[in-house]
């Protein structure tokens, strides 16, 4: 599926599984997708960032491995209010400075915002099969900072992950390839602060043309989605989310057109929300060494009469 994603999107390296002959070689199954990325194709097509306002990103590489980034965001952010019908929007603007270090074995990303938040990510290949990932977010407010460490182990046809968080959060996931196309997995987590534990199961079936995945968790979430690749440029996706405790149901259908210079994604929801995201690679002429990408996002919520539009530019 590596040719599904254009250079516009950050590269997702996924080796193509070997074409199965008539007989399935059960001792030679491909390595499955990581548990977090089960719904990867559906999320890429359907979960567009609901961004409102202006965003401008500029990145400059100082070195082959080190780069800095500056980003300005201006726009209203939603604050959850008491009644579910009205949403309070507070206009905010902030500037974010970031530094990235990319090595084949080590990746460090740090971001600092003008409202005092620090976000740091680390990904290190400890060995050929063991990967350590850490994510920390520090804020000035007390008790709002958190950090999560993940240890991923990649076996021959399985993946296991252990997750440790700062407020006594422990989780583990395991996913195994059962046939060349089907992989099944499960997860267990225990959170110390709200004393909750949960268990979940997931399944993913993929072929060259389609990916279907389902996930059930004891928090009440049931997620099922299906992505069909119609041609090289077009894919359609549908998604169904159901929570059997709070009885929330959302179904959505969307399309994803990947063209040469742009990518258009559109989606319509059962809550009466339609949204579209257009990303375009702007050609700045032959003199410029930098590339620019612009994006434009629009969302219309017919039930709540909420209209959101956002646009942005990424340079470098």
């Amino acid at each position: 599926m590596a040719d599904l994603f254009p250079p516009l999107v950050t590269a997702q390296i996924d080796g193509k599984p070997p074409k199965a002959d008539e007989k399935v070689d059960y001792s030679n199954l491909p390595c499955p997708v990581p548990y977090d990325e089960l719904h990867r194709e559906a999320y890429m097509s359907l979960k567009s960032e609901t961004f409102e306002g202006l965003r401008f990103d500029f990145s400059k590489g100082l070195n082959q491995r080190f780069s800095l980034s500056h980003s300005v965001m201006m726009g209203p952010t939603e604050v959850p209010s008491q009644s579910p019908d009205t949403t309070i929007k507070i206009p905010t603007a902030h500037y974010e400075f970031g530094a990235n270090y990319f090595d084949p074995k080590l990746m460090l990303v740090g971001r600092v915002m003008t409202d005092g938040r620090l976000n740091a990510r680390l990904k290190a290949d400890l060995s050929d099969k063991l990967i350590l990932k850490a994510n920390a977010q520090l804020t000035g407010e007390p008790h709002m900072s958190h950090a999560v460490f993940n240890f991923d182990y990649m076996g021959k046809d399985y993946r296991a992950q252990l997750q440790l968080g700062n407020s006594a959060l422990v989780g583990a996931t395991y996913i195994q390839s059962v046939t060349p196309r089907l992989s099944l997995g499960g997860e267990v987590f225990w959170a110390g602060v709200p004393r909750k534990s949960g268990i979940g199961y997931a399944a993913r079936y993929e072929t060259d043309q389609m990916v279907a995945s389902a996930q059930v968790a004891s928090t009440g979430n049931v997620v099922m989605n299906y992505v069909q690749k119609i041609s090289e440029k077009v894919s359609l996706a549908t998604d169904f989310v159901y929570n059997y405790f709070s009885r929330d149901v959302v179904a959505s259908v969307g399309y994803d057109y990947i063209l040469r210079q742009s990518r258009v994604r559109g989606k319509i929801d059962s809550n009466g929300v339609t949204s579209a995201l257009l990303e375009e690679r702007l050609s700045m002429g032959l003199n410029f060494l930098l590339s620019a990408e612009g994006f434009f996002f629009s969302q219309v919520d017919h039930k709540k009469k909420d209209y959101k539009f956002g646009f942005g530019l990424t340079v470098g």
Partner: protein
């Protein structure tokens, strides 16, 4: 004034009684009720058609218009590339 009114009332009375008879007739009142009902239903229909047209129009605008624009540009880009390829021909082997 009084006689005028009385006279008017009398002549108006005769007219008004004929008019009142027509107005209060069964058929006329049924027709009036039917007309009220038809106006009510048509108002509702117009409003719901308007709502549906608005929803359909904005949804079409959000979902379909950017796609058409981008697809057109991609097609034009393809045509330009094709024309350039046919005009310039394959690049010579010694070219950089």
């Amino acid at each position: 004034m009084a006689p005028e009114r009385k006279g008017a009332g009398k002549s108006g009375g005769i007219d008004s009684s004929i008019l009142a008879k027509i107005i209060n007739h069964d058929v006329a009142s049924k027709g009036r009720r039917a007309a009220c009902g038809a106006v009510y239903v048509s108002k509702k229909l117009l409003r719901s058609t308007g709502k549906a047209a608005w929803i359909a129009g904005t949804t079409f605008l959000i979902l379909v218009v950017p796609l058409f624009i981008q697809a057109e540009r991609d097609q034009m880009l393809g045509e330009i590339e094709f024309q350039q390829a046919s005009i310039l021909g394959p690049p010579p082997p010694g070219a950089l």
